[in-house]
Symmetry: C2
Subunit: 242 residues, 2 copies
DNA sequence: TAGTGGTCTAGACCACTAG
DNA sequence: TAGTGGTCTAGACCACTAC
């Protein structure tokens, strides 16, 4: 048996998404969850804490766990989710055109300096792709993958899903990412790949992704047409952090 | 005594910030924390889980809690932090000019529709402010505060800090916020208040803030000069959500 | 083998909400 | 008063890392 609290989390999440537990109503109480799932109270509380953290519920003392408005998945992304996963979740068809592939490249360190990167001359695999959504090229993704961690990235993985390759084939465990969003004028490459005019603006998302052993291994610069960009975030106020 | 795990969290966080525990080193083990603070293991684990969630550490099984690169606070904001708090943390001096104040306004519902707002004709207090950073006006904030929750917002609170007024004076408990970032062309008001040219772009952050009892009460449209905008985010990959 | 973190339990006491 | 969530405990067993 695996992770009881994760099973409870998944079950409750699906029932919220499926409106078994509707917006504005309360989940079963913690004691009821103990009986329903045959678990101890702290185990159920872990599942509830994760639901609260992810914006599904608000816990109210003396009352219960209230289901709240939840809109996590919006294009392009909040959290760490691969495009393939996201496209499936949203029932969008995205095409994925690899327009540059360089197995022996070098990391453009300067671009990621503000994210705390202090490598120099790191050997990487470079992959540049255009994401086509509804027959319109909207996003350029430039990925730099450290060869010290992933010696080789087959082109086929770039055409399908890098995450699937890292996690399913190489069995790497992706841990966390730091990302930074800025706005910048479109450059020549942007204008060419996305068919933009002079004076166009881009939303640029630069991110550094690390494994669960804390090795940073993937550096991504994602450049979005400004008019198609939308980022959603859910955050809790930290009175005390717990 | 309050919240032991929060005390432990604060202490560890300060020691990480103060480099008592340096980047790339390990915190004391969970058993050591039990002895150090006189707590049970689960209590210490709560503190560690919160540190991991906020990007201070990466827990590695069999090894320990590794201190990782952490850059949460960057202007303008990630998470729910007031400008006043942020300015203090970053040692920035921001001026705050209220240029419009309407005690009997109406919520512009359409602007917040994509955030799940379905109110109509809600009476609000309207506050419009310009944030001046380093003698340059960079941000317009338009706040709409529901009169059903906060009957009155004194102008003085708008000139100081709305959060301080809500939390310290009214003792409201702010719970969470949903925010959305988009990129939009500057409008006439933007150009006038921020002295921008035609063709300028803005980063627009719209947010809905709710109390811990899940009542949405504050709607904010924050409009940033594109070239000054920077948003940073830390996210964990959810293999399983716990 | 010893030490680390990951999970789960059963029980306790407290603070808040509702009737 | 009964029911809810908030916190903490002491102990157990497991999986992984390092030696």
């Amino acid at each position: 048996m695996v992770n009881k609290s994760a099973l409870v989390y998944d079950d409750l999440m699906q029932k919220i998404d499926g409106e078994v537990y509707k917006l504005g109503t309360y989940l079963p109480s913690e004691n009821q969850l103990c009986e329903l799932y045959g678990i101890s109270r702290e185990t159920g509380r872990k599942a509830l804490a994760a639901l609260a953290e992810n914006g599904y519920i608000q816990k109210i003392r003396g009352k219960g766990s209230l289901v709240i408005e939840h809109r996590q998945y919006e294009f392009p992304v909040s959290g760490i989710v691969s495009y393939k996963e996201l496209a499936q979740k949203l029932h969008i068809t995205t095409k994925n055109v690899v327009y540059d592939y360089e197995p022996n490249g070098t990391l453009p360190v300067a671009a990621f300096a503000s994210l705390g990167v202090d490598l120099t001359e790191a050997p990487v695999t470079v992959i540049k792709r255009v994401r086509v959504i509804d027959d319109e090229p909207d996003i350029i993704d430039k990925d730099y993958i450290l060869k010290t961690v992933v010696p080789e990235v087959p082109k086929r993985a770039a055409e399908d899903s890098l995450y699937a390759y890292f996690e399913d084939e190489l069995e790497l465990e992706i841990g966390y990412a730091t990302k930074e969003i800025t706005m910048e004028p479109a450059n020549a490459e942007d204008r060419q790949q996305l068919h933009l005019d002079d004076g166009a603006y881009m939303a640029v998302v630069r991110s550094v992704t690390s494994l669960t052993d804390a090795r940073a291994f993937q550096f991504t610069e994602s450049r979005h047409r400004a008019d198609k960009f939308r980022f959603r975030d859910f955050a809790r106020r930290q009175h005390n952090p717990l």
